[in-house]
Symmetry: D4
Amino acid sequence: MSAIEDILDRFATGEIDRAEASTALGRAYFENLGHSTIDHDRLRRTGSPEVIYGEHKSPEQVAATFKAVADRGHNALATRVSETAAAAALAAVPGAVHHAEARLVTFKQVEPDPVDTQVAVVTAGTSDLAVAEEAALTAEFYDSPVLRINDVGVAGVHRLLARVEEIRSTKVVVVVAGMEGALPSVVGGLIDKPVIAVPTSVGYGASFNGVAALLGMLNSCASGVSVVNIDNGFGAGYLANMINRL
Amino acid sequence: MSAIEDILDRFATGEIDRAEASTALGRAYFENLGHSTIDHDRLRRTGSPEVIYGEHKSPEQVAATFKAVADRGHNALATRVSETAAAAALAAVPGAVHHAEARLVTFKQVEPDPVDTQVAVVTAGTSDLAVAEEAALTAEFYDSPVLRINDVGVAGVHRLLARVEEIRSTKVVVVVAGMEGALPSVVGGLIDKPVIAVPTSVGYGASFNGVAALLGMLNSCASGVSVVNIDNGFGAGYLANMINRL
Amino acid sequence: MSAIEDILDRFATGEIDRAEASTALGRAYFENLGHSTIDHDRLRRTGSPEVIYGEHKSPEQVAATFKAVADRGHNALATRVSETAAAAALAAVPGAVHHAEARLVTFKQVEPDPVDTQVAVVTAGTSDLAVAEEAALTAEFYDSPVLRINDVGVAGVHRLLARVEEIRSTKVVVVVAGMEGALPSVVGGLIDKPVIAVPTSVGYGASFNGVAALLGMLNSCASGVSVVNIDNGFGAGYLANMINRL
Amino acid sequence: MSAIEDILDRFATGEIDRAEASTALGRAYFENLGHSTIDHDRLRRTGSPEVIYGEHKSPEQVAATFKAVADRGHNALATRVSETAAAAALAAVPGAVHHAEARLVTFKQVEPDPVDTQVAVVTAGTSDLAVAEEAALTAEFYDSPVLRINDVGVAGVHRLLARVEEIRSTKVVVVVAGMEGALPSVVGGLIDKPVIAVPTSVGYGASFNGVAALLGMLNSCASGVSVVNIDNGFGAGYLANMINRL
Amino acid sequence: MSAIEDILDRFATGEIDRAEASTALGRAYFENLGHSTIDHDRLRRTGSPEVIYGEHKSPEQVAATFKAVADRGHNALATRVSETAAAAALAAVPGAVHHAEARLVTFKQVEPDPVDTQVAVVTAGTSDLAVAEEAALTAEFYDSPVLRINDVGVAGVHRLLARVEEIRSTKVVVVVAGMEGALPSVVGGLIDKPVIAVPTSVGYGASFNGVAALLGMLNSCASGVSVVNIDNGFGAGYLANMINRL
Amino acid sequence: MSAIEDILDRFATGEIDRAEASTALGRAYFENLGHSTIDHDRLRRTGSPEVIYGEHKSPEQVAATFKAVADRGHNALATRVSETAAAAALAAVPGAVHHAEARLVTFKQVEPDPVDTQVAVVTAGTSDLAVAEEAALTAEFYDSPVLRINDVGVAGVHRLLARVEEIRSTKVVVVVAGMEGALPSVVGGLIDKPVIAVPTSVGYGASFNGVAALLGMLNSCASGVSVVNIDNGFGAGYLANMINRL
Amino acid sequence: MSAIEDILDRFATGEIDRAEASTALGRAYFENLGHSTIDHDRLRRTGSPEVIYGEHKSPEQVAATFKAVADRGHNALATRVSETAAAAALAAVPGAVHHAEARLVTFKQVEPDPVDTQVAVVTAGTSDLAVAEEAALTAEFYDSPVLRINDVGVAGVHRLLARVEEIRSTKVVVVVAGMEGALPSVVGGLIDKPVIAVPTSVGYGASFNGVAALLGMLNSCASGVSVVNIDNGFGAGYLANMINRL
Amino acid sequence: MSAIEDILDRFATGEIDRAEASTALGRAYFENLGHSTIDHDRLRRTGSPEVIYGEHKSPEQVAATFKAVADRGHNALATRVSETAAAAALAAVPGAVHHAEARLVTFKQVEPDPVDTQVAVVTAGTSDLAVAEEAALTAEFYDSPVLRINDVGVAGVHRLLARVEEIRSTKVVVVVAGMEGALPSVVGGLIDKPVIAVPTSVGYGASFNGVAALLGMLNSCASGVSVVNIDNGFGAGYLANMINRL
């Protein structure tokens, strides 16, 4: 029985009154830090505790929310974290780890059920590595094994063809590409697994900071391809793990 | 052993020469209709035969490619088909079915393996129905059972809350919304399944024919959400079935 | 009788001639500082003295216009003020206050009529706090009491539902959100009060510095929602107070 | 006591069981027409029954939802209704009225509390009339008296100045303008009431179907101005009535 | 000696005076039809007589300019010609030919020097055929032999690989693609010849009438690729012939 | 003495009271037709009576405002007039003239002072003629003589060079161009007169209905160039006459 | 007789041969500095020597081109000059003057004919001053007297009305405004002189660095308004002087 | 016989088995550095070894890939290289050369076949020099002789006309321009050679970092013009050499 059902039953039987029920329900669901309202019920609802989005937050805010999640006994993950905020989070939660290139801070204290199947993370070019690592490390944070394949963009399509069988052996594929963003279409035409396309802001001029890649991926002529926000490695890794565990 | 491997072995053993091998490989892979090159190998590679994209094609071209797929013994699906092209396809392939609202033509002669789990297709408003039906019928074409939930947009969020348990019972959720496109974020925050967001061109003024909804979905603050092209019901239904069958 | 009507009467009776009337009218209306033309009539016309927009102005210009308003005996407010300009304004007007996070400088010497009803300022996430504070402090500058509710975005909609009754108790609601900007739609569907939506530049990639949130809010499927410029906390707070005092 | 509270009490006292309570709650809240989920609780939550958005819906769908609202005893309003859909709605609900220029269909059977104060609806040009009428008729549907002032755009600012006192006598002002959309700024600088700005798609070339006016209004240098979607006369009229009744 | 040099010499020697020289030069260069100024010198300058752009012109204007070019003894080509304008051109110039799918009208009375090398015109999908034919027929108008390869888009990359050797045998390659426009990158990575990429308006939603394909091609990670306007088959065919004849 | 000054004097001397003065001033300034507020004072203020913008107006509205201007004894001009509205205007004002290509209706009953100097209207191509005629006829409506030079675009720059002296003989130059909109830069670099650049919507694909030409003109590297809206022949002709008469 | 005509005559009479004529013509027209080709003929053609655009140039390049113009005996003007480049120019040309706020460097050694009439430069707000000074100083560089009127934006329209007669006394008006850019429309509706509108990048959020103001100005409902590039004070001042001297 | 064919033959004859063949093929084609997959087969396929794109890469990555190409005995080229990365590359590959203005690093150890014909690189203004040098140095890296012509933009078109014959003597022309980007149209109308247009980000305001120039070039009314990405000097130089060597 969930904590929520327990409170409802106690209210129905009169063990607690309406006011007490309301307060108890509130605490079970979330915690008010003033500047933030931490969603402690999220794990039950969505299978994952709340993730801290680090941008536009002060180092103090990042550290406080990171610690609040960790203190509940959950694994904690913060994304798009500046150097300063990462230092604050590590000071607040001993044992946390900073992945600088991917701008992540992680803290693991619970092991999820193991999973056999793999997530592939494929990049078009070396310049896409930071975003790809954000995806790969996120999937690994949720304990999905990751196969990394780098720099197999469409201008040298034989590099990709040589590794198609490896990619086919995984359950879901994250494809990270900037510039024209064509790699997901080619991959999607070669395999029978879901492709999560991540446009990156790699490029210049008419790449418009990733818009060209984003549009290319949204208009993919291959089936089985869906898209996340520009440079959203976290979102792709999260979804990949979710599909990998279905 | 696949047809391809068979040809390679016959070449290695000298049963056929290089020129014969080349011709045989070509026929196994695709068929040249002049205006189109039909990808008969696609079923092996991606688990699904080629789908005919109906727009910008003449009725004769649609009918010919639809028939070419059907004649190989595959199930056939054509999308974004005009009334005239649908008539041509039905004339060319007796037994084909026209789904007018969703602009699909389907022809089924093979039954895939049955699957127990369900795909949910959820709409924000009644105006989104045509796109949602394109998604639902596509998933059903590949034999995934579909749960349809209509008109539960965020301006009356209790309508959605009342049906969350139903949605949670499915394996993957397609969410179809126009205007501000906020429904996938709310759904994604309530469940632990992949959400495939489909922006629609429903709206006016600053909806810019679906751009507002598309941007809203790409920037979703909920995790587990990915996005397909505006009005791309087919793409969402195809991917939903693919995930549903993992 | 207003100063203007007084001058007109004196002109009609011949007490002053046309040239004198013109000069007197000019002084009653505005003051020419060379680089700026201060609108001293604004209080009569719009119920509020002129507010100083601090961007693209030198610290000297900000301080001089701030002082000119204060010297007339009005309360003074400057927005989007840099650190340097704030220091100059405080030096010019002793007793002025700098609100650093919200980038406001205020100086109060007149108390408006008290008002009982409240303005709510609601944020989707902690990253939206600076803009929300600009709105809240502006409403408070005009002596509207403010209820602050933070971090109740749509990805955890129960956090919002738990506080709907509080929001309903206010007279007008400012909703501040970045990313997909969906919160105003959900709030607007739950209450019967005007919602002033403030898109923020919080987000990355296809948020396009707040454009995604702006479009989401303009296309809100909820009624009773209107929108101000991206990051325009001042405008929202000003309008909220105006409505709160109707 | 609301219907909802009544059901909850009957559940708490055991008069109905959990399953019965769930069903009763559902019916009190909304009605499932298959293609639509009508939000019957909206009146309680937001002070207004659900409004039917007519675009992208079949005439049958418009008529059915319009009738479902009317059959509950509510006043009914449908917006952006085609000629055909209007005819269907009038056939379904005898006594309904079609306002062709504003593309509205209304049906009134309940009179709200009367209100003394007025809403002003001001247009920049004659070409903006259709949108302005949508706003004015919407406010009148909710029984706010409306003052209409037409064709007082900024290229002849004395036309506006001559009527400022009339506008000042109202409680809230809707300003409708296309092209450069400058009228709300001038009006906002002259009065101390909330201004709801409605950009219209009137114009050509670089008006981009109302985008120029929309941007002009969002960047208004006057305070007290907020903005709704391009051509959204309904939204402005709805909000104006809401503010008028505060 | 060119006509121009002849006139200059006659002026230098005094055979004609300054006024006569000016008039003679004018006639040698262009012809004033009132609505049009036909550029008869263009053949000398650029190697090709003026081509008539048919859009936004009346049938009479198209026919008159087409005839004026033909009457000078040049081959004539009109692009983007409506059915009506084509009929007018054929009536004005007996022997002209209408290519309906490509919207061209051609009239040939002069044979250029033959050329051995070939232009390849490659399409991603059958929907791109009209633009591809505009390119191919234009190259053929200038007497370049054309190799047509259709429907070899990146979602089935083996279709392209099977025909790479054919493409390599040509001197310059026009690649026509809509949707994500990825084919030129893949082709450019496989061959050592100039690739002229033509984005088409094939697609829907976020293809934005060819913008996605255009951006994809401009950001191509393959070298040797340049781009022409969306749907500009003529421009690609013209340039391909020019390169083919170098 | 103007009518306004006359009224003011009569008020100052007591001949009329404040209420009478107010009414008289109102009538002198504008006329309220209900749907329109005609600006009869505009002639005094700006040197030209009000011009009727025909788009988004019913034929009845166009005809009524056109007649109201004519009935005051002014010359009347309506722009962007549909065929139907033109017929209505001609029926309402006998003697009015319809210029179909330029979509203007004019009625002249007053001759302005003659002017010796000329306005040049130059087009890049024949497709730009309709907009150019709107400019030329507008300038002629205000009695400026017009020199028309057509089809001298930058792809054949000698056509322009041959006519530079003619253009230099005028006082102000309107340059009308679509596609890349480069002609104003070249003209502006050759003459010492103001250049009014009019981008047209001529083109396709990445011309974006005139945006490419508009941007080209705004970024002109030549000095003395200013720009009006896309296809705004009227605005250019009006301004050209105004400059021509300085 | 111009230098060019002199050379032509010497060629026609045989005093110089074709090669010598070509060389002499080249030197009369322009000077090749390697990185730059200075257009010395520009004064004859357009009435003004070449102006140096300072951006994207090294300080050495700015100084060298500035000196080359000055050494020919012309007045010299450089725009958008960095602090470093200004110092280099002043070192290269003693007597040159740096206007820091407007980012101009000027050097005057020739006095043009005096002109009686004035150019008005009007700003909407104090933040627009830098661009306005660029315009005013440019007009003064060409010896047009300038009337400066600051901070009379549309949110306090009486500030403008009080100064209309002053503005009417000038021959041409430059109006500089950011944000919604509405001031040119109001000014254009009050006077009968050409209005040159300069959008500035003043604003934030949906001002898009001046795009909102630019669009507002292009769509001005007032006649007689034309527009230059965002922040292009130089272009406006140059054109204003040109019109002022007609 | 190529290395690939050699491996295939050895497999067909049984000299090596399938596993060995696979490994050998892999090494012949590319080299896996972990972060990068170097495409060693590219020289055979496209006539040029892989070029290193320096942006978004660490100095270590740039140096390692640069060295890997050089170690194979190929000429090496890295583009868009930061100062730091250039230093790293020079340290890794003694003899490499850094071209700072063009941001290139080159290393040559092989001389290609000489070619007689020339590439022209033409700029509109001095501000375009950095991009032009990237193009010119790239063409020279591949041993095409380059003719440089600078600062001949359309605002002084005689500067261009004076040098047309020089340009006509080359085989292919790269035209580099910012602002309105009109130069390629004028050049394309004067010569009979392919024009590769390179838009640059030179300009401000509505140049939108090169978008105005890009659109101008895509809409060029001259034939024979194609376009590369904004500031893509490398791409233009690469393609120019490729065409020059046909």
